[in-house]
């Protein structure tokens, strides 16, 4: 059906526009590039499934983030409790910048950031990712998480302070292992 084809093209545009951002979000939440890609993909297929049933989506971008968030939560639940960045690094080899980053310096910086995010409690990691990696405003995050803007702002503030603290420590002693 020609209408179906056109709809596919249009949804593909949505994919073009938001897939990087959703992938990035998943990536900084679960520390696993390959899995982040799969979660991003699932985010789009689930959104398509939801839309074609005639369901109600007020804001496509917010809906995609919400779906990705749910998938990340499921992912946490599925993972063994002892799953950690270190283990993932051991198992898969941690490659935050993959082959799309040209400079070793960039790769190192991002590795440090990932490490800092990884030691954050989930309540901080989520809001810091949404705020600084995804570029969402605190009120948008509050809406997404169904929390008060004040609480979100406090968590962002505390979370980023912890990240900074981690980076400072790292700067003083690059070999220090994070707990």
């Amino acid at each position: 059906m020609p209408g179906q084809d056109r709809m596919q093209k249009l949804f593909m545009r949505a994919y073009e526009q938001h897939s990087d951002a959703i992938f990035r979000h998943c990536y900084f939440r679960i520390s696993d590039r390959e899995r982040a890609q799969e979660l991003m993909q699932d985010t789009f297929t689930k959104t398509w499934d939801y839309l074609i049933k005639g369901n109600d989506v007020e804001n496509l971008r917010a809906f995609l983030y919400q779906t990705a968030r749910n998938l990340v939560i499921d992912e946490y639940r599925r993972r063994k409790p002892e799953a950690s960045l270190e283990k993932l690094q051991e198992e898969k080899g941690f490659d935050p910048a993959s082959n799309d980053h040209k400079h070793i310096g960039e790769s190192f910086d991002l590795e440090v950031l990932k490490e800092a995010l990884d030691v954050l409690e989930e309540e901080y990691r989520e809001v810091v990712t949404l705020r600084y990696i995804d570029g969402l405003k605190p009120r948008q995050i509050a809406k997404l998480l169904d929390q008060s803007p004040n609480l979100v702002s406090v968590r962002i503030h505390r979370g980023i302070a912890k990240v900074r603290q981690h980076l400072e420590k790292k700067e003083q002693d690059p070999n220090e292992q994070t707990a």
Binding site: G3, Q4, E16, S19, F28, F44, D56, L113
Partner: protein
């Protein structure tokens, strides 16, 4: 935040899928979409969907002027606007179409107007679905939620307006919103009674009651000023300009509404039953009489009364519009009780409760009165 952290965070945003990864993802998504086609047949209306999607994605890259042309060209918004919850295109209406409207809305005044307008659209949808007997509790809850969201957005815009000293604009939006809200309440209450579903009007009205404080906060301030100034008028001091402009604005808004409904009636005239036509014409007649009286009072410098009458004219004309819209969407006539004039309006403790300038003897403002009216109508 220190420099180093800023730099790292900036870099983090450069993490993207590689071109190969993206292409592979697109292939997987395309296969999924083919395997899971659109379930509802939207036939000729699908093209609208694509245009709306295009509008959304072009918005970020195209100059506003070009986007405006796209958004305003053709019947895209018209068709999507005509959808209700449950229709295949309804998600497009609320997720794309209404957002496109939002993109062109920059001033707080326009934002407040848009948000109150969208809030009222949710009530209109509830009315249409209720008339067709399709308003289930899930849909109703969604509409209530959306109504509350729009009200909340309007509240923020109103707060900024008043903070910036634009009380006149806020008052005008408030008054228009209240007039139309009152008309919707009347219709919802009637639909609830007819279908034995009292909870329909009660629940939506409850939502209204909970949020009616929004515009009234502004109106109350203004009403208090008006009260003082009305008293001043009687003691020979001229009322302040904004009291006059409030009454003038209200008269103009009511006039516009009457004109809008007249045009609508003209367009739909041939398709209406004699009873429905009578009901609409009667309302228009009452609205025009009220409007004429309002202008007379204004000419006589009785601005408070002029405001009240114009507000009533607006409400009655809006009722006529709702009747026409419901008929147009559902092909079902709703028979509201005859249009009420001021003496027939709901009363609380024997007092008139429609939006009106404050009574100097009690010092009560518009807000309390409107709230009272809402509460009175909930008890079906």
């Amino acid at each position: 935040m220190n420099k180093q952290l800023k730099k790292i965070l900036k870099k983090s945003r450069q993490i993207n899928l590689t071109r190969q990864e993206k292409e592979a993802g697109k292939a997987v998504l395309a296969a999924h979409m083919r395997a899971n086609p659109v379930r509802e047949n939207t036939s000729g209306r699908l093209w609208i969907l694509q245009r709306l999607f295009i509008n959304q994605y072009l918005a970020k890259t195209m100059p506003i002027a070009v986007l405006l042309i796209i958004a305003l060209s053709g019947g895209a918004s018209l068709a999507a606007q005509g959808t209700e919850p449950g229709d295949a295109l309804y998600p497009v209406k609320v997720s794309v179409n209404e957002q496109v409207r939002g993109w062109f809305t920059f001033s707080d005044e326009a934002k407040a107007e848009l948000m109150t307008d969208l809030a009222l659209s949710r009530l209109e949808e509830a009315e249409i679905l209720a008339t067709e007997g399709k308003l289930d509790s899930k849909t109703q809850a969604k509409l209530e939620q959306r109504f509350a969201q729009k009200i909340e957005a309007a509240r923020s815009a109103m707060a900024r307006l008043t903070a910036n000293g634009k009380v006149d604009a806020a008052t005008a939006i408030t008054a228009n919103f209240e007039a139309e809200l009152a008309a919707h309440e009347q219709v919802l209450a009637h639909l609830g009674q007819n279908q034995g579903n009292h909870s329909l009007a009660a629940r939506v009205s409850n939502q209204i009651a909970g949020t009616a404080a929004l515009p009234s906060e502004v109106a109350m301030d203004d009403a208090s000023t008006m009260m003082v100034e009305q008293e001043s008028t009687t003691s020979g001091v001229s009322p302040a300009g904004h009291v006059i402009s409030a009454a003038e604005g209200k008269i103009k808004a009511a006039g516009n509404k009457i004109e809008e409904v007249e045009k609508l009636l003209d367009r739909k005239n041939e398709k209406l039953s004699a009873e429905l036509k009578f009901s609409v014409e009667n309302r228009l007649k009452v609205a025009k009489e009220l409007h004429t009286e309002a202008r007379a009072q204004f000419a006589a410098d009785v601005y408070g009364e002029a405001f009240t009458l114009a507000q009533e004219a607006h409400r009655v004309a809006q009722e006529a519009k709702i009747i026409l819209v419901i008929q147009n969407e559902t092909k079902i006539d709703i028979n509201l009780p005859e249009a009420g004039r001021l003496p027939d309006m709901p009363t609380v403790d024997g007092r008139r409760v429609q939006p009106s300038p404050p009574d100097a003897d009690t010092g009560s403002g518009v807000s309390g009165q409107v709230q009272g009216a809402v509460n009175a109508q909930i008890n079906l």
